[in-house]
């Protein structure tokens, strides 16, 4: 009933009558280089199978430098409590791509500080080094830690556009600006001339890029009636009614939160899309497909790309001063977004365009 010792290369060597080094060679297919005879190789492989040999990863990575581990660090929880998990799609892509390269994922749970937020160095030591590199997600600003991480030469990439003064951060983002062109084209060709842009309070690059892209694309196509920055709570039936009364025939909602709020507001104001107003959401709802035509942010593809970018950075292609960083540069290109579907885009509702319409009564 004694626990059998786990076989190692020297056990195989003894059984096959060769040296441990020879076993290693055969295992790593470097046998050809050293011209070890087929018969010897066969004997070694048989011994291997007989003993059920499995390499010891710790020893391999100690010796070889790589652990085959990709770190994932989030400044918020990795597995959120709510089912409409913002990270899920990114993680899907990360996992998928990691599988393809035979890598395992380390979720840094140990990095939580006493106050509940997460920190890379908060616990005293950077456990991240455990991995060959890391993918970082999350909104929290933590420039000092990022700078230090870069300073130490630890390979990492961000998902989402991040900038820290004095540090060149490799990141994966989507082409939010370019995605606005088909949005504008779809609305313009449906006949819309006055459009409201419903924006969330500014938080990051993605939003800025969307808005700028939208305004650029809209130039000459239609009038951006207003760029209205609102919290979801302020997207009410009254607000919708006022927009239509002001002549808007279409609303572009920047986030899926705003889109959800807009759906409720439309319902309670008694409007339907696209009959009364055309609506496009600029972000897809992670919980499901969402109520409106929307631009799907390619989160899964971004997750995959992040792994690829990280692998390139780990391979030392990340030095910005190097001339041969072509691979990294290509991988850091924004990921393309597909054009929106058109369920809630239709012709402008005629009456809404007139200030004398019955809708103004609600004001």
């Amino acid at each position: 009933m004694n626990r059998p010792r786990i076989p190692r290369q020297s056990d195989i060597a003894r059984l096959a009558g060769v040296s441990q080094a020879t076993v290693s060679m055969v295992l790593n297919d470097r046998a050809g280089a050293n011209r070890i005879p087929e018969t010897t190789q066969l004997r070694i492989r048989e011994a291997m199978a007989e003993l059920g040999y499995v390499p010891n990863i710790a020893a391999q990575s100690l010796r070889g430098g790589r652990s085959g581990l990709i770190g994932v660090h989030t400044f918020e929880r990795v597995f959120p409590t709510a089912p409409d998990d913002y990270y899920r799609e990114f993680l899907n892509g990360i996992e998928e791509r990691a599988v393809e390269s035979g890598l395992d994922l380390v979720l840094f749970a140990s990095t939580r500080k006493p106050d509940g937020t997460r920190s890379i160095y908060g616990s005293g030591s950077n456990r991240m080094r455990l991995a060959d590199g890391a993918i970082i997600l999350g909104f929290e600003k933590n420039d000092d830690e990022i700078a230090r991480l870069a300073d130490e030469g630890f390979p990492f990439v961000f998902i989402g556009h991040r900038e820290v003064a004095g540090v060149a951060i490799p990141f994966v983002t989507a082409d939010y600006a370019a995605a606005m062109t088909p949005v504008v084209r779809m609305l313009a060709s449906a006949g819309h001339r006055r459009v409201t842009y419903l924006a969330a309070p500014l938080r990051g690059f993605a939003q800025r890029e969307r808005l700028e892209g939208f305004e650029t694309a809209a130039t000459g196509a239609f009038e951006v009636l207003s760029v209205d920055v609102r919290d979801t709570a302020d997207v009410t039936a009254d607000w919708v009614t006022a927009q239509l009364a002001a002549g808007a025939t279409a609303i572009v909602a920047e986030t899926f939160d705003l889109a959800r709020a807009l759906r409720l507001a439309l319902d309670s104001a008694g409007f339907t899309a696209p009959a009364d107003v055309s609506v496009i959401s600029l972000d897809s709802d992670p919980r499901g497909e969402g109520p409106f035509s929307h631009v799907r942010v390619p989160r899964r593809a971004m997750g995959r790309r992040a792994v690829e970018l990280l692998l390139a950075v780990i391979d030392g292609e990340g030095d910005p001063s190097a001339s041969g960083s072509g691979s990294v540069r290509a991988l850091a290109e924004p990921v393309h977004c597909d054009p929106p579907t058109s369920e809630t885009v239709g012709a402008p509702a005629r009456q809404a365009a007139s200030a004398a319409s019955p809708l103004t009564i609600a004001l």
Copy 2:
């Protein structure tokens, strides 16, 4: 611009003017045992901080130490594509508990075999050994691999009742059987005497335990009209109608899938719960709270418990032949389920109890 070499213990030792072994002692808090003076310890800690030292996990675990890594292995994908993520709540609990103990999580993504399924040994080497132990989730039968894992003495625990011939597998489960008592009591005291048990095709222990617990609890309380094993597709309006016609005044749905199907069937048959029929689901819907009164399976608590159990097993308290395995035994106790809420449990609909009721027309 050269990447700085990662500091190791000998670098600290040189800086602090001690030997590398002393650094190791201080790091592992074995300094007290050897009475290393406070001042020396302080010097070492300062040097450590200055260099940003982080232990090399591979070396630690090669040497026999702990890596501080808890493995998570699933025979299916870790991050499912669908938002109604069955694993999410387990992972929540696992992450939460790991955070508390300063452990990181390794998601074994590399363990996927060419055919898409996952295997522990399929890729040639057992990458799991990287971690101090592992929590295994998922339904797929893979007895050989489990037996081998146990054979090698690798510490692991299952979430969900698992049995493999000849191997004592530590697992965490919920007290499904005991949870049936309040279910039966709630129905009986509402006046129900004839209840249909809607069961999924038998797949595991949880189901068996629920059914046996239910039947035991029901004895003397009411008649279990039928135990009906159905696929969700077969839960139709006709089926519901037939149940009521046969005299059932309440339906107990075993899984959340069945509960969802039952909701649709009730809708299309024009019935509402609890006016026409009382309904209790024996499992909670991971996607949300679900349409019916239900027993909440304490998945998060089970995840937490799995970490605790694993930690005990790692500490060698897992030897079933040892007398001191009290801790493991206590942790392997089924986790308690709270009693169901009562939204869709009401008094029996009178007419349904009569075979001459208009409902039978549908037959």
